[in-house]
């Protein structure tokens, strides 16, 4: 006779393995004094252009590097390499998001102690990346004006996994009749209090505010009491 079934209490986080790796990465980044920024958005939001501009403008004053996730191609890494910053591609195959272990593997052979900023561009996807901590200090969710103002209402989860929203392609706002007040209101509806930046990587509008913010955050990381 088979014994009766019974219930065992477990209580284990399903993503514990990822969280453990992410925590180790975060500690390693802190110890090295490198500020890590990750970017999430839908495909075609201008992440790569935005990142290329960021790397190019930061490079004269800071040591910067980038990891870029893509399903199949190395196009983004090639584009980012034009900034002269060290760039590595993480080709995920069919996987729709980056995980902490992929970041850890991609860093092999790099001395993060030499860096000021490390950028991690996630796979273009507004759903899956939200569940995975990558050990970053700042997660930016990018929303381009061409996507429409209601993206935050459609993808509230990703706005909750990010620390700050960045509205890009501002140079196209008029052409697509983008309403900044509506977009801002929608972001605040799903994530009250979320800081929002608006900029154009093409014209440079709003870029200085963003770069200034990164410099402040790096200083805070290195001298937590001085700022």
């Amino acid at each position: 006779m088979r014994p009766e079934p019974r219930l065992i209490e477990v209580r284990k986080n399903v993503l514990k393995q990822n969280d453990v790796v992410a925590r180790a990465l975060r500690e390693r980044f802190r110890a090295a004094g490198v500020f890590v920024v990750s970017l999430v958005s839908s495909p075609g939001s201008g992440k790569t252009t935005f990142l290329e501009k960021t790397l190019t403008l930061l490079r004269p004053d800071y040591k910067v590097a980038a990891l870029v996730g893509d399903l199949a191609t190395e196009n983004d890494a090639l584009r980012l390499a034009r900034s002269q910053a060290p760039v590595r591609q993480i080709t995920t195959g069919t996987l729709c998001h980056l995980e902490a272990a992929m970041v850890q593997n991609a860093l092999q052979g790099w001395d993060v102690n030499q860096l000021d900023f490390l950028f991690i561009e996630n796979v273009g996807n507004l759903v899956c990346p939200s569940s995975y901590d990558l050990g970053e200090d700042l997660r930016l969710v990018i929303l381009s004006v061409t996507e429409g103002e209601d993206k935050p209402l459609k993808y509230p989860t990703i706005f909750h996994s990010a620390d700050m929203a960045v509205v890009t392609k501002l140079d196209l706002a008029e052409a697509v009749e983008f309403s900044w007040p509506t977009a801002y209101k929608n972001i605040q509806a799903v994530r009250p209090g979320m800081p929002v930046l608006k900029l154009s990587a093409k014209t440079g509008e709003g870029i200085n505010e963003y770069l200034g913010l990164l410099a402040v955050r790096l200083a805070e990381l290195r001298h937590p009491t001085a700022v």
Partner: protein, 120 residues
């Protein structure tokens, strides 16, 4: 769609527990928050796939939905939100991003049966 890798993590986690306790798993109970980024229906179908050719083949996945609960500063209490498009207290309308529940993605229990030893 990342539910398959989530399902595989659940199976892996459950298999570890089962082999360390010497039991056969009939069902895995998980808590799934509305803000976990995981879709229940997709997870259920992926679970079946993830169980194939493992000791969990034929087992069930039992999902307990966890609604989003915020802390409302005005009410000084744990409250539901108006909707997922409006993170406001459902009672007084004060906006809040202080999430108390809804991000859960955890295995909470295993329904098991003792393994019957094979007789030689």
């Amino acid at each position: 769609m990342h539910e398959l890798s989530i399902a595989m993590s659940i199976v892996e986690l459950a298999e570890e527990e089962a082999s360390s306790r010497g039991v056969q798993i009939i069902a895995v109970h998980v808590k799934l928050g509305a803000l976990s980024g995981v879709v229940k229906e997709a997870l259920l179908s992926c679970y079946e796939m993830a169980c194939e050719s493992t000791s969990l083949q034929g087992s069930r996945l039992v999902i307990e939905d966890v609604p989003i609960l915020i802390y409302c500063d005005s009410c000084r209490a744990q409250r539901r939100i108006s909707s997922v498009q409006a993170f406001c207290c459902s009672e007084c309308g004060t906006p809040s991003s202080e999430i108390l529940h809804g991000k859960e993605l955890e295995v909470i229990a295993l329904e098991v049966q003792e393994c019957v030893p094979n007789r030689a």
